[in-house]
Symmetry: C2
Subunit: 228 residues, 2 copies
DNA sequence: AGAATAGTGTCTTTAAGACAATATGGC
DNA sequence: GCCATATTGTCTTAAAGACACTATTCT
């Protein structure tokens, strides 16, 4: 029993959110009606490899084709699924919420975004299987990497302002970021390239930028604020 | 077909080395006689979970019970094993070479250490399956984490001098480290605790230290030398 | 005493934190 | 011109790099 599960993150209503699907009520299915991370069995006929499987499930749920996708780890033991020893390969994805077309699939009664609390990695509800553990690991990985990478940029649409990028960092980190230091950091690391257009904001318009590389994150030489 | 494979690192003859085992020659076995990372099928009767499986295999090969062990990732596709779609869960382990009792097992004709080149992640030989990819990923992970963690300390025996610790860093990083900055870094992060004994060196004896925490690595606030 | 390695001090450099000042477009 | 937000500048601070100096034990 080998599956792939996804922690799909986006910024919804100015906070970090993860996509959850509801387990089917069919008899024989474990955790009927519970919320869970999207995922499912590998289709050895269709999926060339694990990443292909993850991409397929992401596409089926969100319609998004090329998000930031990173392997998170694997969870396997004899307790996590009542049907016996099972293993899942977890991935986490970052995408812009405006690119998403939510789709309830055959195996998922409903789909929704669940906000991640600023203070904790806990979601309000009990998730199916060990998905709470997987989600906690995904949030932890994301929160760690935010400190020294450009990951939050993948939560934004293709074109964005530096203020929006800074806001994405603040949402993921759960704390304010100093504007001037932030801009030097982004600039000297060569994360973005300036576009010719600006975005109207009601006051002084903001310069638009886009990522130089939509595929790989940039690693900064230091973390944001050194852990004590 | 689900397996667990291990990249077991140690310092041997003053260079970073990984443990390889030779594949059996039995008919029906893929890659007969090739060198490979130690590993094998999960035993659902004996292994409570993936880590337990990794620990068991590590113990069987080296006799080491409690090394530093970290999940590396999983590799799965329909090409990596000629017998069909297969998945492996890779772990990497760090241990002191003086704690090791090498043991050729039932499923491994021979065992040996292979040095990792300073300049590349390549091992001289062709490894079985996709183990060259897995090893490359393990070396990359290790080389990345060395820059901001105390991982090299797990390559040393329980008691060590700061010079030995510095040498372990240099071996993994493949470049010299500045002594004074290194010591301030280790000291201010509270990585080690001073023992009362010293080690004779032929000249001024060196103070002995041990890790404050033999289980978890310490994360430094900055990398060693910022990537350009 | 001299050799050799252990351990410390000083100065420079890099990039972040704090905070203030300036710039610009809409109204 | 006024307001609000964008953008830039200045000063301070933390920790690494470079390199020199001191300390201690053995021969």
């Amino acid at each position: 029993m080998v599956t792939v599960d996804l922690a799909i993150f986006s910024v919804v209503d100015d906070s970090l959110a993860v996509l959850l699907v509801q387990r089917p009520d069919s008899p024989g299915e474990p955790y009927p009606g519970s919320w869970a991370l999207p995922g499912g069995f590998i289709d050895v006929a269709r999926d060339a490899d694990l990443v292909a499987c993850a991409r397929r499930k992401l596409r089926e749920k969100t319609g998004v084709v090329s998000p930031y996708l990173e392997q998170l780890g694997s969870w396997g033991n004899r307790r996590r699924d009542p049907r016996g020893w099972s293993v899942t390969h977890a991935y986490f994805a970052l995408l812009s919420s405006d690119a998403i077309q939510l789709q309830a699939g055959a195996n998922a009664a409903a789909v929704r975004w669940a906000a991640i609390g600023d203070d904790s990695t806990r979601i309000g509800e009990r998730l199916a299987f060990d998905h709470a553990d997987i989600l906690a690991a995904a949030v932890e990985r994301l929160r760690n990497k935010v400190e020294y990478t450009s990951l939050p940029a993948f939560l934004l649409p293709v074109e964005f302002t530096l203020t929006e990028l800074q806001r994405a960092y603040e949402i993921v980190m759960g704390r304010p970021v100093e504007k001037s230091a932030f801009r030097t950091r982004i600039d000297s690391a060569g994360v973005v390239e300036r576009l010719s257009r600006t975005r109207a904001t009601g006051s002084r318009p903001a310069q638009l930028y886009r990522l130089k590389d939509r595929t790989n994150p940039v690693y900064f030489p230091r973390t944001f604020s050194p852990r004590s």
